[in-house]
Amino acid sequence: MDKLIVGRYIPGNSIIHNLDPRGKFLGTFYFIGIIFLANSWYTYLLLFAFVLMSLKLSGINLSYFIRGVRPLIWLILFTVMLQILFTPGEQVLWSWWIFSLSWQSLINGAYIFMRFMLIIFFSTLLTLTTTPVELSDAIESVMKPLKWIKFPVTQVALMLSIALRFVPQLMDQTTKIMNAQRARGVDFGSGSIMKRIKSFIPLLIPLFVSSFSIAYDLAVAMESRGYQGGENRTKYRQLAWQRIDNLMIVAFVIVTILLIILRFGVNR
């Protein structure tokens, strides 16, 4: 579990760290959107340059991002293979049964691969430089319009931030119970599938029990501190949009314009 990079925050004080989480959150989605405008080597080159520049600005070691790709590598390769084998093309290099390989399909495969990398790098950048609290603040703020349809935005946001807050604690608890059961002779992850599944019961039941008792304690503590759920709460954390956040928008605009020129202009 220590190796999982997705969803982990790396403390820092870079420009990227200090951007407004709302901007970062929406910006990430925007970027993922414009990735689909890319259709040539030049356009991908441009996007990679932009991503690498952002990574550089975050001051986080590149190896972190590469490690972020690792858990997904098989999914990526599988998708890329499908693309390569099933895309029809004119210059067929090799074919067998329903599969065929062409220059076109190879290039397509490479594009898909690059698209994955761009998406993973950029969204990893968001989670590595944004604390879970900031993220849930950003989500709350982005969801605000949903209040119009009576969606309980503030409650959901609080739920989300509490859930995030307790993830590390539950991880610790999991390790502890696993150790206790290993000391009682359980061998997690060996033997037949049935045996493996069965070996997780002594882990899951205690985890449920302790989660419930944490939830109970927490509810009592929250109520004792005056939590009534309602809408009359004020917010301690307030997000402030700053000049640097405008700069981020400018950067996105420039990239978009360049991308459009490269995509449509080059053909002309």
Partner: protein
């Protein structure tokens, strides 16, 4: 069982940017049939140390011998069962490991994992429940219907039932009331006198002087001192420098000595303190 550590080091999350030192250059022998107390402030390495004894953690360098078994960084995860059967481990708040429908089945869980027959395991469960001071009719109850203190006893019975030679206890009395504490410590003391080795991780200095014959002080992942209780507590300044407490009797006697009372006795427990005072005034 003799336990020996030779130049043992352990690094958490090795080869990652989150890497940090858990243990460093541990050289230590714990004799067979001893009651050893491990002390040191929170995060000093005590808990990391004990998890090496039954290979829940494997050293990143060095070598550990537990009885006949040798553990090195290369030790395979298989064939650890005999070791774990011989070294029983009671974690902090062990009641959180209960999961079976009945107390009996929960206590039998360990013994059966270690290869005992159902019949044998049943026998051991009965005996272990008796050892922890709960009546036999509890065997049929659900562990989740018991009080916190009773759940802890069942969890400890679940470890005892595998009949380990060495018992590791990580703050086993945390959160109990004074009477519960005393009963529990008496249980461990009895087990010690019946021939088991005890390794007790504790913050309670009174338990150290009342029960242990061997003390290891940890600090920053290293062994800071190893000796008998009287050796460890002889140097008041050293104890304070290491953020530890003195046992009450030692502290009391030191104050009397500071007043001018002349004696060469160094009482550790209240009984000795009373004797020293009555003999010297």
């Amino acid at each position: 069982m003799e336990i020996s550590f030779k130049q043992v080091g352990f690094i958490y999350q090795q080869n990652t940017p989150m890497e940090n030192i858990g243990l460093e250059d541990i050289n230590l022998t714990i004799n067979d049939h001893s009651f050893t107390a491990l002390i040191g402030h929170t995060g000093s390495g005590k808990s990391t140390f004990v998890q090496h004894i039954n290979a829940l953690l494997k050293p990143t360098s060095g070598e550990i011998k537990v009885g006949e078994k040798t553990i090195t960084p290369e030790t395979n995860n298989k064939d650890l069962k005999p070791l774990r059967q011989q070294v029983g481990m009671v974690f902090q708040f062990p009641e959180s490991q209960l999961f079976e429908e009945t107390v009996e089945r929960d206590i039998m869980f360990g013994p059966m994992n270690f290869g005992m027959s159902e019949e044998e395991a049943k026998q051991m469960a009965k005996k272990a429940l008796h050892q922890v001071g709960l009546p036999e009719e509890y065997l049929e109850k659900s562990p989740f219907d018991l009080s916190g203190g009773q759940m802890r006893r069942v969890a400890i019975a679940g470890v005892l039932a595998s009949n380990p030679k060495t018992l590791i206890l990580d703050e086993p009395t945390a959160g109990l009331d004074p009477e519960g504490r005393l009963e529990m410590m008496t249980l461990f003391n009895n087990l010690y006198h019946e021939g088991k080795s005890i390794i007790l991780v504790t913050h309670n200095m009174e338990d150290v002087v009342n029960y242990a014959d061997d003390v290891v002080v940890f600090n920053h992942g290293k062994v800071a001192k190893h000796g008998t209780p009287s050796e460890i507590f002889a140097d008041e300044q050293w104890i304070k420098d290491n953020n530890l407490e003195l046992p009450r009797s030692v502290e009391f006697m030191n104050q009397l000595k500071a007043k001018g009372l002349k004696t060469t006795d160094n009482p550790l427990v209240i009984k000795e303190l009373i004797e020293t005072i009555t003999n010297n005034i």
